[in-house]
């Protein structure tokens, strides 16, 4: 192998080393998340519950299998999905502050849920259903974000300039938020409370049955992102260069938007909107791996995103107390300092 190739491997080695370390940390934090909760459960009890369930205490089994394991898995999926979506948005729009919700996916989902929970508020009467089943909320959120995805794809095929698409996405987001505000304005306290709690995000309300739907959705989204690694690398230089290198811009955009909508939409549907993770994690990944190649960044973002979400969940459990924090606040408090740091760093030299 030539000297240059050997040099190149040096760069990759660092990235691979980081990936290996992250892969070891993940199961560790997974276990830690299983340990933390209101009920005091020891590691041996957890292992017994997973591997020798016949021998375990039934209450412990219930808590672990029905509550902690699905919550931990949801945390991993949410962290990974939102981070990958954020990574793609940052690359395609060449904007370091882009995130998974920039296309309006989260607003669409919140409109769907708002219509279900708040109804048309005081305007036309009470909500559509008296009891919002958890599947109902998921469906409403998905339909909402699905409609936005269709809108974005329509716009994207008409508009050439990617910056225009970004601005339109932001404007659509704002418009929908205003509609949601109107619905909230006309609602009474209990409906409002229900809706507001949804907007705070929660990992613990996803059951194993729901995971059976969430898991494949997230996997599909991640798979598409992985297959788009080549597109994403080309997008780094901008769409003009990408086109000159033979990339089909329309197709590439569609793959990326589809993946983002599936990832962000699914997580928002099941967990409510969870912010900041999608913006902060891709930057951590880029910094840790010192590379811009997406074939390395995608797995790194998945691992770091999952870890960050597990950490957020652990913190939100407020170990040692009966109370809990809404997960959205924790991700914000963790993510905002990182975002601030990005902005300060960018003042000096680079972008993205």
């Amino acid at each position: 192998m030539t000297e240059a190739a050997a040099n190149k491997n040096h760069n990759n080695t660092r990235a691979i080393r980081v990936l290996v370390i992250l892969s070891f940390l993940l199961p560790l934090f997974f276990l830690l998340d299983l340990l933390i909760g209101s009920y005091y459960i020891t590691i041996s009890e957890i292992l017994k519950a997973i591997f020798h369930s016949e021998n375990a205490n039934s209450q412990v089994l219930l808590i672990i299998n029905q509550f902690r394991v699905p919550k931990a898995i949801t945390a991993i999926l949410a962290g990974a999905a939102l981070s990958i979506a954020g990574l793609q948005m940052q690359t395609v729009f060449r904007n370091p502050l882009a995130g998974p919700y920039i296309l309006g996916v989260s607003s669409g989902a919140s409109l769907g849920v708002a219509l279900l929970v708040l109804g048309t508020g005081g305007l036309l009467g009470g909500s559509i259903v008296s009891v919002a089943s958890s599947w109902g909320i998921v469906a409403a959120a998905w339909i909402g974000s699905g409609l936005i995805l269709i809108l974005i794809i329509l716009i994207s095929s008409r508009i050439k300039e990617i910056m225009t698409i970004l601005i339109l996405g932001l404007l659509i987001s704002s418009a929908i938020s205003s509609i949601v505000n109107i619905l909230q304005y006309f609602s009474n306290e209990s409906m409002l409370k229900s809706f507001v709690i949804w907007t705070m995000g929660s990992l613990g309300s996803v059951t194993n049955v729901q995971l059976a739907v969430l898991l494949p959705s997230v996997l599909i989204g991640i798979l598409i992102a992985f297959f788009s690694s080549k597109f994403l690398d080309a997008f780094l230089l901008g769409e003009n260069y990408a086109r000159s290198m033979g990339m089909n811009i329309r197709f590439a955009r569609m793959m990326v938007f589809l993946s983002t909508a599936i990832l962000a939409g699914s997580i928002t549907a099941f967990c409510g909107p969870i912010g900041f993770i999608g913006i902060a994690v891709p930057h951590i990944a880029r910094m840790a791996l010192q590379t811009a190649k997406h074939s390395l960044l995608v797995p790194a973002t998945i691992l770091i995103g999952a870890l960050m979400m597990l950490v957020s969940d652990i913190i939100s459990q407020l170990p040692g107390s009966e109370k809990t924090l809404p997960v959205n606040s924790v991700t914000a408090l963790l993510g905002i300092p990182i975002v601030i740091w990005i902005i300060i760093r960018n003042k000096n030299s680079n972008r993205l």
Binding site: K8, N11, D233, R243, G246, M247, N248, T291, R351
Partner: protein
């Protein structure tokens, strides 16, 4: 001996370029362009600012469609090519400054292999070799792991060119590749382009403001004037007077003897200069710069200057003065005008 018609790699025939608007509100930037470039030529597009060089280049590169007429690449209109096939034939370098952090020189150059690699972008040995060669060709061997953002402007430009080399196309189109570069880098870049055309047989098309280099290095020029686009060897276009039509400003003219552009200056005073060789030439240049018309005989002027490097003697009316530098001489002369 059979004289083979050389292949027209890029050809425009009565093509118009500009921006397509809605329903007949197209903005035509340049119409009726008929030019071409042959295989292995280094072609420079020159013209005044705003005359449409970038628009023409971007249309050739396939970023925007022509308003009317086609652009044929290797005989086939651009619109008939699939993106991937066009990318195998033609690569492009724009004026945009790429700012991506954590991107190494190697990784950026390797992007050039895009049309050659599989869906995942996996680099095989052949790809690696091409990338290395490309990096060496532009003189950046050893820079593979450096971050592109930490390079100087000249180095970064070379990296972008290396990328096109890795893309391994027969045609390379560059928009102002030497803008913002100092002379040394300018020379290096043009030299690389020249070698690519002459040694590797690539067709290189680039736009530039640097007329001197364009004249000195190009095989063919596309001269974008205000009414038409002319083509030919630089010398052809100089001899047939087209160069004078480049700038609309009446005060700029092309000196066909010296081979450069000059600015007409209002001359106020005259001076007669005697001397020899280089010191004489440069003294005359300094006088012209200060708005003096240089005359041959002493009768035509009240100012006589004798050059005896490193001394100058000035006789003006009754005064006789000596100077040790052109700077002080000119300072005195400026005082005379008042």
């Amino acid at each position: 001996m059979i004289h083979q018609q050389p292949e027209k790699i890029i050809e425009l025939a009565r093509t118009s370029v500009g921006y397509k608007g809605k329903a007949k509100s197209d903005k035509v930037v340049k119409s009726d362009i008929s030019v071409y470039a042959l295989k292995g030529e280094l072609v420079a597009i020159i013209g005044e600012n705003g005359v449409g060089k970038s628009t023409l280049l971007r249309t050739i590169a396939g970023f925007q469609p022509p308003i009317s007429g086609d652009i044929r690449i290797c005989g086939k209109p651009i619109s008939r090519y699939r993106e991937k096939d066009l990318a195998l034939l033609m690569s492009f370098v724009s004026t945009e400054i790429i700012r991506v952090s954590n991107l190494s020189v190697f990784d950026l150059v390797s992007l050039g292999r895009y049309p050659h690699t599989n869906w995942f972008g996996k680099l095989l040995e052949e790809d690696m070799n091409m990338i290395e060669e490309a990096i060496s060709s532009v003189g950046l061997r050893g820079y593979e792991n450096r971050m592109v953002n930490h390079l100087s402007d000249g180095e970064r430009q070379k990296v972008m060119i290396a990328r096109t080399l890795a893309q391994n196309t027969d045609i390379i189109v560059l928009d102002e590749p030497t803008a913002f570069l100092d002379l040394s880098n300018k020379y290096e870049i043009v030299h690389i382009l020249h070698r690519l055309a002459s040694d590797k047989g690539k067709t290189i098309l680039f736009s530039t403001h640097d007329l001197t280099t364009a004249i000195a290095e190009s095989d063919r020029l596309w001269l974008m004037l205000h009414e038409s686009v002319e083509q030919g060897a630089p010398e052809d276009l100089i001899l047939n007077g087209n160069f004078n039509a480049i700038f609309q400003n009446k005060n700029i003219y092309f000196d066909q003897e010296k081979g450069d552009f000059r600015i007409l200056k209002q001359t106020k005073l005259t001076a007669c200069v005697t001397g020899e060789g280089l010191p004489l030439n440069w003294t005359i240049k300094a006088l012209v710069r200060n708005g003096f018309e240089v005359v041959d005989s002493a009768n035509q002027s009240t100012i006589q200057i004798t050059v005896n490097y490193p001394h100058w003697t000035v006789t003006h009316l009754a005064e006789l003065l000596k100077f040790d530098s052109l700077l002080s001489l000119c300072g005195y002369l400026k005082g005379l005008e008042n």
